[in-house]
């Protein structure tokens, strides 16, 4: 599903964010990427949704050679990869439902499809009662659930979550991780960037540890060790 071959990312002029990454993530996996701040975790996530391009090496996602992807193809790739961030990236002037439907509107979905899908997604993230609220009227955990609903709207094969619980308290963190696990159980590949020890240890899934841009360990059913 996702394959890194000798991928390096150098930010100009000379920040080596990722060095010689070799990695294979299979369809349906739940992978946690851990590591200290500034070790290239977000850079790795950005490569996955083509926000950045590898400086060297090859990155193939579901048959797409992302390292050589043409600009016009990037939107098509992004419709297959849902993205979630620490800061939610919700539009403050739109309601919960509008934030979710916006993702459908801008890809030209029919009004009928929007009317069907949006309530469905809000039900999945357990927010059907709050469709008319604005982001500032929601808790952090609820806002992140809106973002996840939006990320799921194109039925992506992969969800990339870059520190999705970084701004949340323990209870909300737990909710969000459970939601991601549920999504994974339905077959979506999940790549979770985090540095939350408890999460990683409780997940009992594959853990990849980065240090200074390199993979220093890659374990099935791994634990957080640094």
């Amino acid at each position: 599903m996702i394959r890194f071959k000798n991928v390096s990312k150098i930010y100009r002029p000379h920040t080596v964010a990722l060095k010689n990454i070799n990695l294979h993530i299979k369809a349906g996996e739940f992978v946690s990427i851990v590591g200290q701040s500034g070790t290239g975790k977000s850079t790795l996530a950005k490569l996955l949704f083509a926000e950045e391009r590898p400086t060297k090496g090859e990155l193939v996602i579901g048959g797409w050679d992302v390292s050589r992807i043409r600009r016009g193809q990037i939107p098509l790739l992004r419709r297959q990869i849902g993205v979630v961030f620490q800061d939610f990236k919700l539009l403050q002037k739109k309601t919960v439902a509008e934030n979710v439907s916006f993702a459908l509107e801008v890809v030209g979905a029919s009004p009928r499809r929007i009317r069907e899908l949006v309530p469905h997604l809000l039900r999945i993230v357990n927010l059907e009662g709050k469709a008319g609220r604005y982001p500032r009227q929601l808790s952090g955990g609820e806002q992140q659930r809106v973002a996840i609903a939006r990320a799921l709207i194109h039925r992506p094969k992969i969800i990339v979550a870059d520190e999705p619980t970084g701004n949340l308290d323990a209870i909300n963190t737990h909710d969000i991780i459970n939601l991601l696990k549920k999504i994974n159980e339905f077959g979506t590949t999940v790549v979770l960037v985090t540095h939350n020890r408890e999460i990683v240890n409780s997940l009992r899934k594959r853990v990849i540890t980065l240090d200074k841009g390199e993979i220093v360990s890659d374990q099935e059913e791994g634990r957080y060790r640094l």
Binding site: G72, L76, K89, L91, E105, V107, G108, S110
Partner: protein, 303 residues
């Protein structure tokens, strides 16, 4: 189709949400168009003015007193046969005397000296109008015909050619200045557009970021800005056209009074050429605003 409607909606939203920016942009574009139309009006009026002067350009040929009517008529026919001649008018001695009296009706001295002469001192006169002021040289040469040469006492040639040259020269200068002003206005308008787009991109950076994140096509992200550019151009063209029609309609009677018989109806000019004038202006303006928008997006919108 749905996408088109959505893009339209986004474009109109941009236009209204930053209504002051839109007002400034549209005003600049309108000013530019008004300058261009002013130049155009100037051009139309100069043409009318030159025609008016050219109409007045004539040569008077005074025949000796006592010249036979047949000779005068022969000369008139001969001149009329020239391609360069628009019209020939024969003035009989009686008419000439009448005109003279009428022109000097106030002047006792002249009238009394005319009485003293007793008889009609005027001979036949031919008034020749050329098609073009430049043709007078040729016409005068043609009149050097042996048959008529000796019968002609005097050729009175009012040299309007110089007036026309001066008119052309003056309007030429005005035109250069006007074009320069229009160019500067347009440059300012384009700079404003680049910055308006830059600001709109900045205001909408979150929205644009989300759009890209969820896989909106590049065209979909950009199209509203291009549509907005066309919307600016259309609004400016509309306002400019209304202003031009309004002013030229109000001015029409005065212009007509000034130019006399010569057709100098600006309103009619704009009314009969709305498409070549305003259509072309709209097309050119849209092209330039779209160019400015493309530049701004190339610079400030990373897709």
């Amino acid at each position: 189709m749905i996408s088109l409607l959505r893009v339209l909606r986004f474009a109109f939203q941009n236009f209204w949400r930053n209504v002051w920016l839109s007002v400034i942009t549209v005003s600049m574009l309108t000013l530019t168009l008004l300058t261009v139309n002013l130049l155009l009006s100037l051009h139309v009026l100069t043409d009318a003015a030159i025609k008016a002067v050219e109409n007045k350009v004539d040569v008077s040929l005074y025949f000796n007193e006592g010249t036979q009517v047949e000779l005068v008529q022969g000369a008139a026919g001969y001149i009329r046969g020239l391609d360069q001649v628009r019209d020939v008018q024969i003035v009989t001695p009686e008419e000439a005397l009448e005109r003279f009296r009428a022109r000097h009706a106030e002047d006792r001295l002249i009238l009394s000296s005319l009485e003293e002469v007793g008889e009609n001192p005027f001979g036949y006169t031919l008034i020749v109008q050329a098609r073009d002021a430049a043709d007078f040289g040729f016409i005068l040469e043609a009149l050097d015909h042996p048959q008529y040469r000796d019968a002609i006492r005097e050729k009175d040639f009012s040299n309007y050619g110089i007036i026309i040259d001066r008119l052309n020269e003056a309007t030429g200068k005005v035109r250069v200045v006007g074009l320069a002003v229009a160019a500067v206005l347009l440059l300012i308008a384009m700079l404003i557009i680049v910055n308006v787009v830059r600001m709109t991109i900045f205001i909408h950076r979150d929205e644009i970021g989300v759009m890209k994140l969820v896989g909106a096509g590049n065209t979909f992200v950009r199209a509203p800005y291009f549509l907005e550019a066309i919307l600016y151009s259309a609004t400016a063209t509309g306002i400019a056209a209304a202003a031009v029609f309004g002013t030229s309609r109000v001015l029409a009677p005065r212009l007509q009074a000034y130019f006399g018989i010569v057709q100098a109806d600006l309103f009619a000019y704009f009314a009969t050429h709305p498409l070549p004038v305003f259509g072309l202006e709209f097309a050119a303006l849209s092209a330039l605003t779209i160019l400015s928008t493309a530049f701004a997006m190339h610079k400030y919108l990373k897709v």
